[in-house]
């Protein structure tokens, strides 16, 4: 199967995510976090934050909401039966806090074929309501035997 790279460079409309206190706590507990900044809004306020702070990997939640539709885009053409999440990179800026509104845009960065496998790389850029970039994500997916 030849890999179709026509979608490289495609961008998608921004996706807005409203960060909620209970969602942060749910994510923190599901990943085994014990840091009070994530779980106790009074501890977070005592440390100078407006509300509970999102653990860095909460980026999966607010930027994942924008990446999922891209993975299902027929123009990208991922074969889900053979899909493996190959790698992930995040670079973080200012911390995300409950009450923030995070807007994420996604770009199809690369599609390639190597050793019989297809590689799909997406980049997400997430910005808070003050215009600061809070996270850039690089999502690498491998479709085996493409």
């Amino acid at each position: 199967m030849a890999v179709n790279a026509d979608a490289v460079g495609k961008t998608y409309p921004p996706v807005l995510y409203a960060v909620g206190r209970e969602k942060i706590k749910e994510f923190a507990l599901a990943t085994g976090e014990t840091e009070p900044l994530y779980l106790d809004h009074e501890a977070a306020r005592a440390a100078g934050y407006r509300d509970v702070v999102a653990p860095p990997m909460f980026a999966v939640v607010y930027s994942g909401a924008a990446v999922s539709p891209v993975m299902f885009d027929p123009e990208v053409g991922i074969d889900f039966a053979l899909l493996v999440h190959g790698g992930q990179e995040f670079t973080w800026g200012p911390l995300v806090v409950a009450g923030d509104e995070i807007e994420t845009t996604v770009l199809v960065k690369a599609i390639s074929e190597r050793g019989g496998n297809a590689f799909y790389v997406f980049e997400s850029v997430s910005t808070n309501q003050d215009g600061h970039t809070v996270c850039v994500g690089t999502w690498s997916n491998v479709v085996r035997g493409a």
Binding site: K23, E26, F27, L29, A30, T31, G32, E33, E35, L37, Y38, V53, A54, P55, P56, M57, V60, V61, G64, A65, S68, V84, H85, G86, G87, Q88, E89, F90, T91, W92, L95, T138
Partner: protein, 131 residues
């Protein structure tokens, strides 16, 4: 924070054993309901030993090891990982991390997560803001 960040410093190991509900809880928290993580029958039908861990849950353990060692969420500037091995439930995961360089208030750390002999997260690279 007792850790002194110098090249060669090994950060405290993080050991965690995912229980049978881990992937269910993480699916709800993250929104990733891929059936290989939540449906035992489906996972076996596609040739897996059973429900497997989300790679991003395991990456979250690698991230947690860094922020706990460096003193909070603001310390983690970058984390890059490769997923190759398959993580399973009810078996201990060990995250190890070693400082490679320190410059301009940033520590570069090599990190990985093992489950038995399987590297479930490998080629992990973290950048930590110090001080």
């Amino acid at each position: 924070m007792a850790t002194t960040f110098e090249p060669g410093t090994e950060l405290p190991e993080l050991r965690v054993t995912p229980d049978r509900m881990t992937t269910i809880r993480y699916a709800g928290a993250s929104g990733d309901f891929n059936p290989i993580h939540v449906d035992e029958d489906f996972a076996r039908q596609v040739g897996l030993p059973g429900r497997i861990l989300h790679g991003l849950w395991t990456m979250a353990q690698v991230a947690r090891a860094q922020t706990e060692a460096a003193g909070g969420p603001h310390t983690l500037r970058r984390l890059s990982v490769q997923f190759r091995g398959m993580g399973v439930l009810e078996r201990e995961i060990v995250v190890t991390s070693k400082v490679t360089t320190v410059a301009d208030g940033i520590a570069h750390v090599d990190t990985e997560a093992r489950q038995g002999d399987v590297k479930v997260v490998r080629r992990g690279e973290a950048e930590l803001r110090l001080g």
